[in-house]
């Protein structure tokens, strides 16, 4: 009895952790340090080999961290009494010019501090042939070390950022699936919402000069409009008893068509730069704003489903609609809520996407409904309704993202990726079935 329930609650998380472990192993490779730590390493080896006051050239590229590396090196070298003859930052051409001017000034060179990239430049490797007058400078580079590409913080943040839109939509989808329904319209609503947001900003908020308030209003208006589409779907489903699959399939077509009509088949980009704050900014504790928003929404949704009356009603409607109705649950209103919520979350997803890409286009969100449903299912929510947890969905979203990311890092081609994703979804459902069988076997009476 205990064991299967444990599996149900923590199985998906366990799978995700195993997957992360696997990805770390396959992407384990040589890394070079950068930034100030790299500078310290170079300084140490320089001091050991070249004595007190060497004449140094610093050659760095344009990678992130290179500027820090160069600045720290220059400062500390000067402080220790060395002479920094030049700091070449940028292309190989810049390094060549710097070397030429040093050679022209007639001085010799004791050391060149390179990053792992610049040390492979021809101008550095062939220095003895090209500039014999400089003497025999030794090349210093930061030490390399081994670390999984997957576990690099940029990569992890990258996953989190990519996942934000899907994860936000998946909240609404989980609610709908728990009530025993399905919402196929979310992908189209993402596109519609992105187009609406961009169009509102362009047409009513002043385009590129839009103020914060104007942008906020545009976003809210787009989300509310998506919500009203959800209300229409919900009404069809509850009051006219049309199957959710059909209603939301129709809404998927309508939403997508409307998005193309509004955008007139083009991408709307007359948006101020500050609009990307939501999608690309990272103000709080180093996490991207979209990821913070996503985490907050998941926490709220978890509380809603686990602790409130409404959450209990959502589960009850999915578990046994008739029993719920006869227990006084306002079934229709509960279902209506589910579809409106799903549309609102899809609308919010569209806004985040528009912010990430700084434009609105009707091509956004294609196939998202399927990815989202897959994520919900992988997270352990049963498509027959009445079962499922928000945190499971979050795990499912990450599971799929981690698999995709791992395949990208190991250069698996995109066609193969599709096959693998399909297998993952099948595997997840199979896992769920086996678990259910174990549960019924171990505790039927």
């Amino acid at each position: 009895m205990k064991n299967p329930r444990f599996l149900a609650d923590y199985g998906p998380i366990l799978v995700l952790l195993l997957l992360c472990g696997f990805m770390s192993v396959v992407t384990y490779s040589e890394q070079s340090s950068n930034g100030t730590t790299a500078a310290e390493q170079v300084l140490a080896s320089l001091a050991k080999q070249c004595g007190k006051s060497p004449r140094v050239l610093i050659a760095v590229g344009v990678q992130p961290g290179d500027a820090d590396f160069a600045a720290k090196l220059e400062r500390d070298l000067v402080a220790s009494g060395a002479t920094v003859l030049a700091v070449a930052q940028g292309e190989p051409r810049d390094a060549r010019e710097a070397l030429q001017s040093i050679a022209a000034s007639g001085s010799t060179l004791d050391a060149i501090c390179c990053t792992d990239v610049t040390q492979t430049w021809l101008v550095i490797t062939d220095i003895k042939a090209d500039f014999p007058s400089l003497g025999e400078p030794s090349v210093f580079t930061p030490q390399s070390f081994f670390w999984p590409n997957f576990l690099k913080s940029e990569n992890l943040l990258n996953i989190a950022n990519q996942v934000a839109v899907i994860a936000v939509i998946a909240i609404g989808m989980t609610i709908v699936i728990i009530t025993g329904g399905i919402d196929l319209s979310v992908g189209s609503l993402v596109a519609l919402s992105a187009v609406l947001t961009a169009a509102f900003i362009r047409d009513f908020a002043g385009g590129v000069q839009a103020s914060f308030g104007g942008m906020l209003l545009a976003c809210i208006a787009a989300i509310v409009l998506c919500g009203s589409i959800g209300a229409v779907s919900g009404t069809m489903i509850t009051w006219f008893a049309i199957p959710p699959f059909i209603v939301t399939l129709a809404m998927m077509l309508i939403g997508s068509g409307l998005a193309y009509l509004l955008a007139m088949g083009q991408s709307i980009y007359q948006i101020p730069d500050s609009f990307v704050w939501l999608g690309r900014g990272a103000d709080l504790i180093g996490l991207p704003n979209a990821v913070v928003l996503m985490l907050v929404l998941y926490a709220l949704a978890h509380v809603l489903m686990a602790r409130t009356t409404l959450g209990r009603y959502l589960y009850a409607v999915g578990g046994n609609t008739e029993a719920a109705r006869l227990s006084g649950v306002p079934v229709k209103r509960v279902l209506l809520f589910a579809y409106i919520a799903s549309a609102l979350f899809a609308g919010l997803g569209g806004v985040i996407m528009a912010s990430q890409l700084k434009s609105g286009s009707a091509t956004y969100g294609t196939m998202y409904e399927l990815y989202v449903i897959a994520a919900v299912v992988v997270g352990g929510t049963s498509l027959s309704g009445g079962e499922g947890r928000m945190l499971g969905t979050l795990t499912g979203v990450f599971t799929i993202a981690v698999i995709q990311n791992g395949m990208n890092l190991t250069n698996v081609e995109s066609y193969t990726q599709k096959v693998v994703l399909g297998l993952v979804i099948l595997g997840a459902v199979l896992f769920d079935k086996v678990r259910q069988r174990v549960t019924t076997f171990t505790s039927s009476g």
Partner: protein, 496 residues
């Protein structure tokens, strides 16, 4: 050979589920041309035993022999090939297919790979004629009445020449007239050498039809006797492990002012101009044949279906009930007849099920107060003696009687003034029935107005203060003094 060995012999059958040893070495013999009644309280192991016989579950130990030959049933198909037909309480018919299609489902007659429809039709018609009934061969099964569906199941068993027919609670949904008809068919089957294993909670029927009785309790055989040599109380003793003195507890009724008044209730052909009154502290029995419109009537009162006409008053105030929500807030509760489909979300925990109608008072600002919910539930668990492992156990894992108690608990916690009970003791064992009777009496003593629908006349006579009989959607009679009514009196009104 076949003369000396029994048609069916099960020996030392063992089956356990975690925490429960459902069968601990049960044995059973059935002779050809015999009706053996298999009795026992719910949870005694009857269902498990017949599921093993039907190939739906596998025994851990023990043997099954048919005509003295060892058989192992690993699937329903193998069991069927062995000549065993099990008619479960929930029928295995495809609602959208016709009677003929259902009869031959999985055993279609074919010619050149195509279904031989004419031949199937003719055979089906023969079977129904042999059973002495008329059934529309072309109507989808969902349009047939429960009794007709059961006949389709029997015909299905005969179509593949079953030698052993197991009937699980066949009379549960039948009217007494239909039960008589069923008995004639069983006697006919007997005369053809078919062995019938008959499972029922209704002892009257057992005495009417069975040749021999075998009783299970807690997964063991507790007694077996031919019917002529046994009394009712002996059987009950074997079932519950003690002798029940009275089937119905005694009660002093204190009847007060009218509580619920219903007048001119109407919906289609099912409910036609029904009016009655229930008073505080009164148990009103609503009886009649199945299909008389009793369930439909209480569903209209509860707002589960929309009424076309009629007025509902509580304490003299007219209520506009349009949904179960309205009814519940007006203080009306309904225990549905089908607890699995309408009473419980089986895949959810006991606590979730219990809380569902009570969240309005168990929550604050939309948040469920889990502590209050747990406390309240554990009160009722104690009071109703619900046997559960913990509150998070799934409802599906409880026995029928305990499921019914959970449904009761959820309505008792709601503290309704008017309670509508639709077949409150259906499919529940004798011991649990008695507890539910006690509870009904207690509720009445507390001044609640109770309406009880029941098809079991002894229960109606034993429990009710007043009886209303319905027939074809109309009230055909009222018996004000239930204590002195007779079954014949009720049946006369029910057939009016």
């Amino acid at each position: 050979m076949s003369n000396c060995s029994p048609l069916l012999e099960m020996r030392g059958v063992v089956k356990s589920f975690p925490g429960v040893r459902a069968l601990r070495g049960v044995s059973l013999r059935l002779q050809a041309g015999e009706v053996l009644a298999l009795l026992g309280e719910n949870g005694a192991g009857k269902s498990t035993l017949i599921k093993i016989l039907g190939g739906a579950q596998r025994a851990e130990a023990g043997s099954i022999a048919i005509n003295g030959r060892e058989a192992a049933f690993h699937s329903p198909q193998e069991s069927r090939r062995g000549g065993v037909a099990v008619i479960y309480q929930e029928f295995n018919l495809v609602p959208g297919l016709t009677a003929v299609e259902n009869i031959f489902l999985g055993q279609e007659l074919t010619r050149w790979g195509f279904v031989a429809r004419k031949q199937e039709r003719r055979l089906a018609a023969d079977l129904f004629e042999r059973l002495g009934v008329e059934i529309d061969l072309d109507a989808p099964c969902r349009q047939l009445s429960t009794a007709q569906q059961q006949l389709v199941e029997i015909a299905k068993a005969l179509a593949f020449d079953a030698r052993i027919i197991v009937m699980d609670e066949p009379s549960a949904a039948l009217t007494s007239h239909e039960v008589d008809r069923l008995f004639e068919i069983i006697r006919d089957l007997k005369s053809r050498g078919v062995g019938v294993l008959y499972i029922s909670h209704r002892l009257d029927e057992v005495f009417a039809i069975a040749d021999r009785v075998t009783v299970l309790r807690d997964g063991c055989n507790t007694g077996e006797q031919i019917i002529e040599k046994i009394t009712r109380n002996q059987i009950i003793g074997w079932m519950v492990g003690r002798e029940l003195k009275d089937e119905f507890p005694q009660r002093q009724s204190k009847i007060g002012a009218p509580k619920l008044e219903v007048s001119g209730l109407r919906r289609g052909r099912a409910v036609r101009d029904v009016s009655f009154t229930v008073r505080c502290g009164e148990i009103l029995a609503l009886t009649g044949l199945v299909g008389a419109g009793r369930t439909e009537t209480v569903r209209l009162i509860f707002g589960a279906d929309q009424r076309q006409a009629g007025e509902i008053r509580i304490d003299g105030n007219v209520l506009s009930i349009r949904s179960p929500c309205d009814a519940i807030s007006a203080g009306i509760g309904l225990l549905t007849e089908d607890r699995k489909l309408q009473g419980l979300a089986l895949g959810h925990s006991i606590r979730d099920n219990f809380g569902l109608p009570n969240l309005t008072w168990l929550s604050r600002c939309g948040f469920v107060q889990l502590c209050r919910e747990r406390d309240s539930l554990s009160n009722y668990v104690k009071k109703l003696q619900i046997k559960l492992q913990n509150q998070e156990q799934l409802a599906v894992h409880l026995s029928g009687g305990n499921q019914q108690k959970v449904v009761l608990a959820k309505w008792l916690a709601r503290n309704c003034d008017v309670l509508l009970f639709d077949e409150p003791t259906r499919g529940i064992d004798v011991g649990a029935k008695y507890e539910i009777y006690l509870l009904l009496n207690e509720l009445a003593a507390a001044g609640k107005a109770l309406v009880m629908i029941s098809s079991e006349l002894p229960e109606v006579l034993g429990m009710a203060d007043r009886i209303i009989v319905m027939h074809e959607g109309r009230v055909t009679g009222e018996i004000a003094d239930a204590r002195h009514a007779t079954q014949e009196q009720i049946m006369a009104l029910a057939h009016a």
